[in-house]
Symmetry: C2
Subunit: 412 residues, 2 copies
Amino acid sequence: MLQSQLFSRTLHQDPKDEPSVNARLLSRAGYIDKLMAGVWTYLPLGWRVLSNINAIIREEMDHIGAVEMHMPALQPRELWEATNRWSGQEIMYQFQDHGGRDVGLAWTHEELVAEIAKRAIASYRDLPLAVYQIQSKFRDEPRAKAGLLRGREFFMKDLYSFHTTEEEQDAFYNSVRQAYRNIFTRCGVDAREVEASGGAFTDKFSHEYQVLTESGEDTIVYCPSCTFARNAEVAEGTEKCPNCGGALTRAKSIEVGNIFKLGKRFPEAYDLKYKDANGKDQYPLMASYGIGPGRLMGTIVEVFSDDKGIIWPREVAPALVHLIPVGAGGTVTMEARGLYERLHGAHITTLLDDRADASAGERFADADLLGLPYRVVVSEKTLKEKKYELKHRSGGEAQLVDFDTLISLIRS
Amino acid sequence: MLQSQLFSRTLHQDPKDEPSVNARLLSRAGYIDKLMAGVWTYLPLGWRVLSNINAIIREEMDHIGAVEMHMPALQPRELWEATNRWSGQEIMYQFQDHGGRDVGLAWTHEELVAEIAKRAIASYRDLPLAVYQIQSKFRDEPRAKAGLLRGREFFMKDLYSFHTTEEEQDAFYNSVRQAYRNIFTRCGVDAREVEASGGAFTDKFSHEYQVLTESGEDTIVYCPSCTFARNAEVAEGTEKCPNCGGALTRAKSIEVGNIFKLGKRFPEAYDLKYKDANGKDQYPLMASYGIGPGRLMGTIVEVFSDDKGIIWPREVAPALVHLIPVGAGGTVTMEARGLYERLHGAHITTLLDDRADASAGERFADADLLGLPYRVVVSEKTLKEKKYELKHRSGGEAQLVDFDTLISLIRS
């Protein structure tokens, strides 16, 4: 990847009306660009990060047997009237097409997936089934001033599952919990599984995945000694940990995922039925499971940054190495190009600072702002010693190393 | 891929109000599902085909140095007023958000990309630049009854390039022409490069890529002896081939791609300027290049089908092999599973018909309808001979072959 081709440059000013850390750093570094409140462009560098997150999500979803599909955003009023979610939905963009038909932009897909499931589900032998998508959703958010944390147009991974029995549903639900833990771990964040309200259709808890950070809009109550955690909304009166009896702590957090058991509400609304082993009609149980990949990207930045810029976790970084030539000489440029090719040959993703007109100071400052895990410098000085200067973005001293050591340190 | 997990079954009835071949076959086979006119779900099998097409497009775009990004669909009125494309645009969905702001859904992205380009372009040294995206667009189409050929919500690959000189632009324009030829060839279609109107801002031709088929809504005039082809809209009076003097033929066709030189219209509208080598402000030249991946998928089906179903070209097929166990015996089922794993090990994508309750006749009819390139049958009869039955979807007799021959025939 060449820095000259990223369709952006780093900025010194913050985006308008965007006080959040993720909005400021991602915009200044050239990952995203604001169009209006809650609506952002993913510039090439940001698209790379989001694609890395999406690739992790796809791997973990495929691993538990969920199959990917793609549902549209533009939906007719009638679809939403079946569940009484058309009227009074302030957050849904609703309008008429030129033929006078009422249509809206989907902010979730329980309605449509239950309707489509009628093509797939006829017998108990067809179940369980699980499908997911990663797709753009729309919400007319009144407050959309938190960068990627609260979007009006935003990416969502939504997974839906259909089951014959509670036991079957629980087994799949638990496999999703494991997949979610894997996703958040691979993305570098410590997401707590938190009990939350199950909504109007169950007296059980649903689960949210919450990342602790001062900038969060949620509050959770958790036990520092064990895994217990509960959304403050449903934790009233809980003073001691129900698991271990320890004292509980309150903290701000960002919700990066949630999982819901929905019962039979949606199947009933769309007459989605299957024949059980006795030939009798039954409604399947349904559950839904969400992760916002863009919000997750924003959360990572909220958690991993310092006063100089972003510090990307390894697996989501747009590239592992930021390669920086220092000095105007043709030899330095040529050697940097050569190293760029050798790193590519070693399958190490690299961003080469190939800008013609940047000073050494600008290059170093931009490297810190962009936040790739490793900075490698090629200069007259390093070339004289036939070495390269390697520095971790997360800290520590720069060190002079030869190519083989460079590769093995980056891979370790 | 397991047939039981495709979130669909084959249908005997056609979708409502959809006379086109692609809508009927893709819906009946379970690739897509209609929500309303021009709005479709890509079911897992259809999503696989579209992902294959998108992967080809990405490879060819990356190869010519274009960089991927992602722009939003939801856009403010002011952005479009700068180019006078807000008012009188019947095809644009326009509405107010709950804050009373006029917003619309983008049906193209020249406006936004020119605005964003100001982050990237300051000096002649920043050019040329080329960025693309594959993203959902929206058009309030009055006639949307042609399946994937004319959508109200549809995928678009749109590429935009920026240049200092005509010569530089021509060089990149020609590399895009080659990339487009590669994309269409790899997708199995014979797309003619056709001269078309360049629009209001140039007296030169733009280029369209048209696939000849009776179901097309366009008409082109072309020379059967050489490469000359022109859209009938701009071919009035052209009776003989300007290249070779031969007689011209008229034919119906589907436009699957187009490329436009846009001059300086958009840079001027957004005050997108760069300093030339003399330090003087200049507007860059801009060009845009589109391919509709969904429409391309529909076109492939319009061109490649017979009375039994679809016949996918190799590189876009959802899998290479449709593996069909025939006979109720546990041995057949087990052997089919074993072959499924061995094909996976040989990196041959396979759809296993693992349905419990389908007859041999249903399985064969569905295999023809789904249209994967190879059908492989495992039955008591083939097992007795320690062989498998292989048949091309495109024709020819079935043949009994051993595993090694099977692999080499499929790979050839």
